[in-house]
């Protein structure tokens, strides 16, 4: 790999590891020092490798430089040293040399503990996802801004406030105790779920960043699956859900980057390896008595990997949505349940149920009504699609609705 490609590649994979290890060593209140030292390490690589060429083992080189920079930092900042060195976790008292452990095991442990620290309920879910992208995924500020459809200043402020809050609340970087694990894990899973959805449903035009978000959410979830004490049914169910959804990455975007709706997708583009992986993890999730929303959503996603429409398929999807809505209501689940009802039973029955829903500001609601009235009362279908068009915000959504109105004329 050429240097121009190698450094960004290593930045993506190694920056987060160095940051996690250093931050765990220093404590969350010094998260910015950890970030700075990791950034400086890459700056050194850029300067040195340009003149001296790429070292034989670039990763080892980065780790050595990171360790040296951290040691130098301690020596240069006596106050920091006095206050922090005494509290460091792995200080050997004889030498007062800090031991910066960049072994695979410690990197994994540090990342897991940072994951729990960042997904702390003291900061908002949107701050958690932004911070996770920065610290655990090594995303640039501009990439995070693109993912959230906002500007760099907003993201910078959000990150600053989140770090400040973690510092004030003295959030510990540690693995939660057994009695706390379930509760803390719930927040972590919610953040990973949001991170994945941010990528999967984002209106961001940048398809590369969208996919990266999903893959990073999957990587972090896999860390939990591979760790003995967090390898729990809900975690496996979430990973299964992500596998099923990710299997449609290629099929859901056209060459021009437009979103292709499920019904119009070419299923030969689905990733069947990911689908079978999803099946494997859903099977692993099927133990214990805890039926979580991830189990139900993964099961719904599983049925969507079967393209052939049968009454059985839609009946199963309907029953899964019936259960999902009882434990976790969301407008989109209510709409999808009604759609499933139309496929499992009849449009007439679904229209009756749809009219009971009160979602006046939701353009998907009117898209659904348009869909249900198509072939039954095309004038009503058109009126609903037009209502949807007035509420739709993104160009992608508007285009999809206009296509449906166009289709209605031909029918």
């Amino acid at each position: 790999m050429e240097q121009q490609q190698l450094i960004p590649h290593l930045f993506r994979t190694e920056y987060r590891k160095i940051t996690a290890v250093l931050c765990r060593l220093f404590g969350i209140e010094h998260i910015e020092i950890a970030e700075d030292l990791a950034s400086e390490t890459f700056l050194s690589a850029l300067e040195t490798w340009t003149y001296k060429g790429i070292p034989g083992n670039p990763t080892a080189w980065l780790y050595t430089v990171a360790k040296n920079k951290a040691s130098n930092y301690f020596h240069r900042h006596s106050t920091f040293t006095e206050h922090i060195l005494s509290r460091l976790k792995y200080t050997s008292p004889a030498t007062e040399e800090i031991n910066i452990d960049l072994s695979d095991q410690n990197i994994t442990d540090s990342q897991l503990q940072m994951l729990f620290a960042i997904c702390s309920p003291v900061i908002s879910p949107s701050a958690q996802t932004a911070l996770a992208l920065r610290i655990l995924c090594g995303f640039g500020i501009d990439e995070i801004a693109a993912a959230f459809l906002t500007n760099k200043e907003t993201i910078n402020k959000r990150l600053q406030r989140a770090k400040e809050k973690l510092r004030i609340e003295k959030v510990a970087i540690e693995f939660p105790g057994a009695h706390q694990l379930a509760q803390r894990l719930e927040t972590v899973l919610t953040t990973l779920y949001l991170l994945f959805n941010e990528g999967y449903y984002s209106a961001s035009k940048d398809a590369v960043i969208r996919n990266e978000l999903c893959l990073e959410a999957m990587r972090l979830t896999l860390l939990l699956v591979e760790n003995e004490s967090t390898n729990l049914p809900a975690v496996n169910a979430l990973y299964a859900l992500m596998c099923f959804q990710a299997s449609r990455f290629e099929a859901r975007k056209s060459e021009s980057g437009e979103l292709i709706l499920y019904a119009d997708q070419n299923e030969t583009l689905w990733d069947y390896e990911l689908i079978s992986k999803g099946g494997y993890f859903l099977h692993r999730a099927s133990t214990g008595n805890d039926l979580t929303k991830y189990h139900l959503e993964a099961s719904i996603a599983y049925w969507h990997t079967i393209k052939t429409d049968t009454i059985e398929k839609w009946e199963n999807i309907l029953q899964l949505f019936n259960q999902l809505l009882q434990i976790n209501y969301s407008p989109i689940a209510a709409l999808n349940r009604t759609y499933a009802l139309s496929r499992a039973r009849s449009k007439a029955e679904a229209i009756k149920e749809a009219e009971k829903l009160v979602l006046p500001g939701n353009h998907f609601y009117f898209v659904l009504l348009g869909e249900l009235y198509t072939g039954i009362d095309n004038a009503k279908a058109k009126a609903n699609y037009e209502a949807a068009l007035r509420l739709a915000k993104t160009q992608t959504d508007k285009q999809a609705i206009e296509n449906k109105i166009e289709h209605l004329k031909g029918a």
């Binding site: 309907l318 029953q319 949505f321 019936n322 809505l325 689940a333 209510a334 349940r337 009971k356 829903l357």
Partner: protein, 117 residues
């Protein structure tokens, strides 16, 4: 918004339904609950199986099940959110239990813990 308890009463709990019939009722019940949950009006609820049922009398005597001198029995209950008792009644009207002659759904407002009720 208030919470209402819908209490499903069966006229004769000793009637045994076939597994096929049970499955149809189950599906209908799930659809009924799903429809309420889709309106974000479902709070909680459960069915009450007839096995392991006991009645404790004022004499502390314990008898099996509520099926004996009292035939009517509770098959399940559900708490819903509703703006009025009329809305709660509309939910109750969809209950599949009402397909059985003599069965009823009792609608009761849940007391608020506001010190008044």
């Amino acid at each position: 918004m208030d919470e209402f308890l819908l209490i499903m009463r069966h006229q004769d709990g000793s009637k045994i339904a076939s597994p096929e019939q049970m499955q149809i009722w189950m599906k209908q019940t799930m659809d009924w609950i799903g429809g309420i949950a889709a309106q974000n009006k479902f709070v909680s609820g459960t069915g009450l199986p007839f096995d392991d049922a006991r009645v404790v009398h004022s004499t502390r005597m314990v008898t099996d099940g509520p099926f004996g001198e009292i035939k009517e029995t509770i098959g399940g209950f559900m708490t819903v959110k509703a703006d009025s008792v009329e809305e709660a009644v509309e939910f109750a009207k969809g209950c599949p239990v009402l397909q059985g002659e003599g069965n009823t759904v009792e609608v009761r407002k849940v007391a608020k813990r506001d010190g008044v009720h």
